[in-house]
Symmetry: none
Subunit: 522 residues, 2 copies
């Protein structure tokens, strides 16, 4: 049985505290979900803000390959025709092929929050769904407060979903909007609901009782064929069901369900981290399936057993979801990691060299470096320690300044370098101090290294490492660069001074490019 | 029915990556759990390290009032008598009234990991339990890999727990050691196990499938009367069942269960944060029940409804667990959020003013601002728009520069301000450009505003908003400040230039402090 995966990271996920996606962020995430075979991607609520409306225009201009794009909205306002409702117009203008309409299930909400008659609510649901169906759209109906409504007045709740079903909604989604429902209630009510409508059911849960994943699975076991959630469980309050766990459980733990595209399960860890990176959020190290601790073994007894038989303390093989086993607090594990990471350097498992590299990596990591997203800096470190590194230029000095007189600030940087024993002294302006430094550095180097012209910075991230000391704390800068061949590499710098940390990452990025083009990084 | 709560934060929780408790930490946590009426507190594994052994001596010297202290250990080694086993000796020396013994349930583990005969494993369990019972201790038997073992060979698994039960163990605890079991399997197997032993059952789960809480509840519904877990779900890999969620669900969501001392439920939030503080870990803002986002409302529709009827988007009243409701401001919010956030500004629900504020918030958020963690900047924005804001100083110019000649960079900043029509022109050095600007700004202002001396920056965060354009993209800076009264406030700045964005956030922070001390932010 194929279970439809409906992602609402871009809409419900964006309701989470501290979550804020730019238009470009949303497009990037949608493309990644599309590649992995998600069935539906809810892009936003076009009436609520211009960014969401623009997202749908981007999807029209550059359509996805597999996933269906969904636009979210509410039932029409009371007393107006759907065609005259601004929300309906915004949904039509989105040109999304699927329209997801949320409506009220609970008589309490109809009376106390919406403040319309029970019949008017039924009409609002039926007319809204019917309107989009007549316009040739597929409609998914999200029944808000479904379980609370059913418990309070099952007869009325059943009428609301029957209205949506008769009006042509292709899925009826049972929403545990407040996240307060227990799994046994989900199972029971889902069974009762299935008997009342002839359309397939879906499930949408929230994690307020730490049961969002369990409730999603309970509904599917009771017959739902469609599940809504977000990557990493982002979302309002305690978040939505984490689709990472839902998908992994359906595919690996339960019998008889198919999800996503064949063979995409081993990209779950990558997907999780990609979304965290785009949202500029820290990973949850103990996140089920994809966290960096999910297959980390600390206790000596467990490490010993895992060394004998991996499955003794692992419920699945970590590779299945693209994750990896780690053994903590062990120099041995360190060395085997380093060996794994240095195979391309052709240093023949030289044990003394490995130890020196390991010590340097540990020292750097203690100082705040992180090489996971900075492989180019790691490769340069290995070259430096093994004595095969010759820098292409030498710093004499750099200087950068920002001055403001209340309006647009003026930013300038100078760099003075030795390149092939020649002094190059250049100045440039920029949008900010790092941009200006980068520009001056290129001016000083482009003459000798014309291949730098095809290289550009594609990402720049800053994180304060020890936040207790505020602006005097250390700062980690990670830069991602790309060249004309499409290769992308990451470099890192750490310093108390954000400018120095940025400089170090910039220099590594350029040195890596120059070494690489000389065939010295292979 | 009273459900026994068994806390293993100090033992299994300490296996979590990054978790490390000192002896004093352990004593503090134990006392707190004791006050709240936890039935059992597992203090450690006395054989494994001296700190755990010392913990038990402290518990003997200063006994707890309510909770029973438990010492953890394994069954005796193969081929030795319990009285001669160093693990058994360490357990006896702990003087703990309750001994928790873990033993093997799974024939696979007996054969592949322990490498003893099936009968020897049964003898190890029976003799170990019997030994402690004879010494007058209460014994809890933790059946490791219980569900995996039962699925592989139910007959052998049943024999292992029957051996522990006949030997006198007072509780048989079913452990989902690898965290891979589904709730329906837990329910089924718990039912089968109950038919095989005449001692009460307990449950111990791990969160590898994000189902630890659901599995705990499933076992209790199937008849278990004892549940093991940790505060905040600390623990190896993905952690143990979070007792915060287990307790809250049992007390508030399920019928017929009693947990903890009467009236202690409203200390759960405090307990959660206390354990995070002691472990020096960051809170998980979206943690169920106790996270700071657990009752935070961002979407306009939700805020509107919560203002009408709180329970419309809250599954329980936040006070029940000692938490509180919060309203967040964002582009997703409608006028309701603004009204809720501006009640302290005494602007009488002036609709036109609200609309201007909302428009400004939406414009700012489209430009990359985010006010959720920058309430002070939001309050200043409201004051500016409503015309009640008078700045305490005016910028003439600022200048900041960083220069490096290869070693430690030299960083300097100057600021020139008008304060009460007087020119203040100051210079300072710093660890980085923002630190230097902050120092120069304080030099220029401290004379007129001595109350700034008690204020300090406690956090500084930078994020690039549109990462596609790299160093030329916009940057959002969020600063958190604290004053001598312990009040903490957040401010935000956005600009293409990280220095300008930092300046804007710094100025807001200082202006907020000055307005506040004049009673103008009430």
């Amino acid at each position: 049985m194929h279970i439809e995966i409906y992602d609402t990271t871009l809409r419900d996920g964006a309701q989470g505290e501290g979550v804020n996606f730019s238009l470009e962020d949303k497009v990037l995430i949608a493309r990644r979900l599309d590649e992995m075979g998600f069935d539906f991607i809810e892009g936003g609520y076009p009436l609520s803000n211009p960014k969401d409306a623009e997202f749908f225009q981007r999807m029209v201009a550059e359509p996805l390959k597999h996933s269906k794009v969904c636009a979210f909205g509410m039932t029409r306002r009371r007393g107006v025709k759907p065609a005259d409702d601004p929300g309906m117009k915004a949904l039509m203008e989105s040109q999304a092929p699927v329209i997801t309409i949320v409506g009220k299930t609970s008589d309490f909400h109809v009376k106390e929050v919406l403040r319309v008659s029970e019949q008017e609510n039924i009409d609002m649901i039926a007319e809204t769904v019917e309107y989009f169906v007549q316009q040739g759209r597929e409609v998914i109906y999200d029944a808000e407060h479904f379980f609370d409504g059913w418990k309070a007045n099952a007869e009325y709740a059943a009428k609301t979903i029957a209205a949506a079903a008769s009006a042509g909604a292709m899925r009826i989604v049972m929403c545990d909007t407040n996240g307060g429902t227990m799994p046994e209630e989900v199972a029971r009510i889902a069974g009762e609901a299935a008997a009342k409508v002839d359309k397939p059911l879906g499930i949408h849960t929230h994690n307020d009782c730490e049961l969002a994943v369990a409730n999603s699975l309970a509904a599917i076991d009771a017959g739902a064929i469609h599940v809504q959630g977000t990557i990493n469980g982002l979302g309002e309050r305690c978040g939505n069901a984490d689709l990472i766990s839902v998908v992994a459980n359906l595919a690996l733990k339960k019998q008889g369900y198919e999800v996503l595209e064949q063979g995409e399960l081993d990209h779950l860890t990558e997907l999780s981290r990609y979304v965290y990176e785009i949202a500029n959020m820290s990973y949850r190290i103990n996140q089920p399936f994809v966290g960096s601790s999910a297959f980390a073994h600390k206790g000596g007894m467990h490490v010993h057993a895992v060394n004998r038989v991996a499955e003794s303390y692992e419920h699945i093989a970590p590779e299945t979801v693209g994750n990896e086993r780690r053994v903590l607090v062990s120099e041995l594990s360190g060395r085997s990691n380093i060996i794994a990471m240095t195979t391309k350097h052709d240093i023949d498992e030289d044990k003394a060299l490995m130890d020196r590299i390991l010590r340097e990596v540990v020292d750097k990591e203690n100082a705040g470096y992180q090489f996971e997203s900075a492989g180019a800096s790691f490769d340069l470190l290995v070259k430096r320690i093994s004595g095969t590194y010759a820098p292409h230029f030498e710093l004499v000095k750099f200087h950068t300044s920002v001055e403001s007189r209340g309006g647009q600030p003026v930013t300038e940087a100078t760099v003075k370098l030795l390149v092939d024993d020649q002094v190059r002294h250049e100045v440039a302006e920029g949008d900010g101090p790092v941009n200006a430094l980068d520009a001056a550095l290129r001016k000083a180097l482009n003459g000798s290294f014309p291949n730098l012209r095809g290289m550009q910075l594609v990402d720049y991230k800053v994180r304060v490492i020890n936040s207790e000391a505020a602006t005097a704390a250390s700062v980690r800068v990670v830069i991602e660069s790309r060249d004309a061949d499409g290769e992308v590499w990451g470099t890192v710098g750490v310093d108390e001074n954000v400018i120095q940390a940025s400089w170090d990452a910039l220099v590594d990025s350029i040195e890596y490019k120059l070494c690489k083009d000389e065939g010295k990084m292979a």
